[in-house]
Subunit: 337 residues, 2 copies
């Protein structure tokens, strides 16, 4: 189980996780997509030196090139690194804090991407922590910064604060009742953006949506965090309201749906990733609605990650073709439930 899932944050049932990352670049070095090997080494060394000077936190350093393809994909599935980080394996690396909550990515799309990850909704505390890390790094590094634009970044969508805060939120009852469309529309209208579980262009498998800020320019970091946080609290409220109403007027159907999904998870012998996400969603909802007692929502959150292709192969310590994966996925789920 990814360590960050055990986070001791205030638990918001509907929110699976929150994440904030900052994009930073060193002055007078080309952005990663244009840099030479030499430049990439220079950037890496400077960042490593900067981090080394703190005594408080313990980080482990990994070069992408030293990791197997499977290990790289597992880290992505666990949300510990971003998919872009593995695109130039000879230049990219990362520092992972012991508790797996903080990752400092080197030579991703920008020279530096620092992310902080929590289970549940924890944006404000996480921002304070990330801000301190950023300050410590900034004391020791020369960032590319413009008085007019703020922090400069490889992609103009990140210019300014360089912040992206995003929340993974599980909205089965908004989906069930169709309210999700209005909700997502409203979210987009106020400058936030929604995506699926694994970033841009991916579907909202298992009724999990990723909601994040679109704008990085013209608002302070605190305003961005505050706005996202408020929206998430409102959506959470709405989802919970609907859950309560459904429990009142359609209890049997809700119970049936939840128990059937649990039954399938406990008994199936072949299970696709797509189907498992749907069933996990039902069971997670059932736990949170009090339909399923003696089960922990964390088990499902971690299964959502553990049953992804790479994590699954790591768990069984062998390469699996897709057909085998579906069989092993079913096996793993039965074992864990």
């Amino acid at each position: 189980m990814a360590k960050w899932l055990n986070g001791s944050c205030l638990k918001n049932d509907v929110v699976i996780s929150s994440r904030i990352r900052l994009a930073r670049n060193l002055e007078d070095v080309r952005f990663p997509q244009d840099m030479t090997m030499e430049e990439s080494k220079k950037v890496t060394d400077e960042i490593l030196d900067a981090v080394k000077e703190w005594k408080s936190d313990k980080y482990e350093f990994h070069k992408i090139g030293d990791l197997s393809s499977l290990e790289r994909r597992v880290l992505i599935e666990e949300h510990l690194i971003s998919p872009s980080l593995i695109e130039s394996p000879d230049k990219s690396s990362f520092l992972l804090r012991n508790d797996e909550k903080v990752t400092i990515m080197i030579n991703e799309e920008d020279h530096l991407r620092v992310q902080i990850l929590s289970s549940g909704l924890n944006l404000e505390n996480d921002w304070n922590e990330l801000n301190q890390i950023d300050d410590m790094l900034e004391d020791r590094l020369d960032y590319a910064f413009s008085d007019k634009f703020g922090y400069l970044t490889a992609c103009p969508t990140n210019v300014g604060t360089g912040i992206r805060a995003s929340v993974m939120i599980h909205l089965p009852c908004l989906v069930l009742t169709g309210y999700i469309n209005n909700t997502l529309q409203a979210v987009n209208q106020i400058g936030l953006t929604t995506r699926g579980l694994y970033g841009e262009g991916t579907e909202a498998l298992g009724n999990v949506f990723q909601i994040s800020n679109q704008v990085t320019l013209g608002e302070t970091e605190e305003e961005i965090i505050q706005k996202l946080n408020n929206v998430i609290l409102q959506i959470t409220e709405k989802e919970k309201d609907i859950r309560n109403k459904l429990l009142e007027v359609r209890r049997h159907e809700m119970e049936d749906r939840v128990f059937r999904s649990l039954g399938l998870l406990k008994y199936a012998r072949i299970m696709s990733s797509r189907e498992s996400m749907k069933l996990f969603s039902d069971v997670k909802m059932g736990i949170e609605m009090g339909i399923l007692k003696d089960m922990n929502s964390n088990t499902i959150d971690s299964l959502m990650i553990l049953t992804q292709p790479a994590s699954l192969q790591k768990y069984f310590s062998k390469d699996l073709i897709p057909e085998e994966r579906d069989i092993k996925r079913a096996e793993l789920i039965r074992e864990k439930l």
Copy 2:
């Protein structure tokens, strides 16, 4: 559980039950559809007297008019009486043998319908037993009989031997592979007929087919029984062959199908009759194919009956509207599995 399901006959997995019935009428009394109340009493008394003279078997006598609507429907669902028997409740009655294997129906479509019912394939033994009962009755009653046509019956389709032998057979793998169509066609071509679980015009729910003789004229009873028996053995063989092949080449899919259905039966909170029949079919197949150990096919056979609307209401001792039935059906299934 209907007692006849506990039959000690040779068990043929694929065959659920076999049934033979004889249609007979008393001479010089109009057929039931045209008879007066007085005539119906006369017929009833004569038959009761005839039965009373044997000492060997114990029968219980019931007038349809004395039974509640629920009790009547339960008897039909258990295949102990025919649906036609309850159409004129003031004229009709039946004698049920203690072991529930033999029913003597009075004033159904004919004055007398004697049926014998077994779990599994048991046509030849049952025919011998039924033939003896028929002889005992014939010694004591004057049957309407023509030297040219044989036994006369209310409906010309029964004229001659008055025999209908039918077998309920469970053919999930013939259905799964599509061979069922050819099979049923062949069955029809040799003068046998196929219907669903509860007689003419009903669907083959749960992959259960009823195969019976069409012709009652021009063949002896023994020939009719022999032919049906041979056809059933051939179909059974074919079904078993396909089961074995599927186990070889698609084991995982078969296991997945069986276990998923078991999971749904064990976990669902709402279960329609139609869905439950489909799931029972899968589980029964799984037991017989050795996929599910430690489960008994009889449990499923009896659940197939017990979850029918009337039997379900009898079990819970109360009237249930369809929505409640689906909830109670799910409850009963969870309890029994």
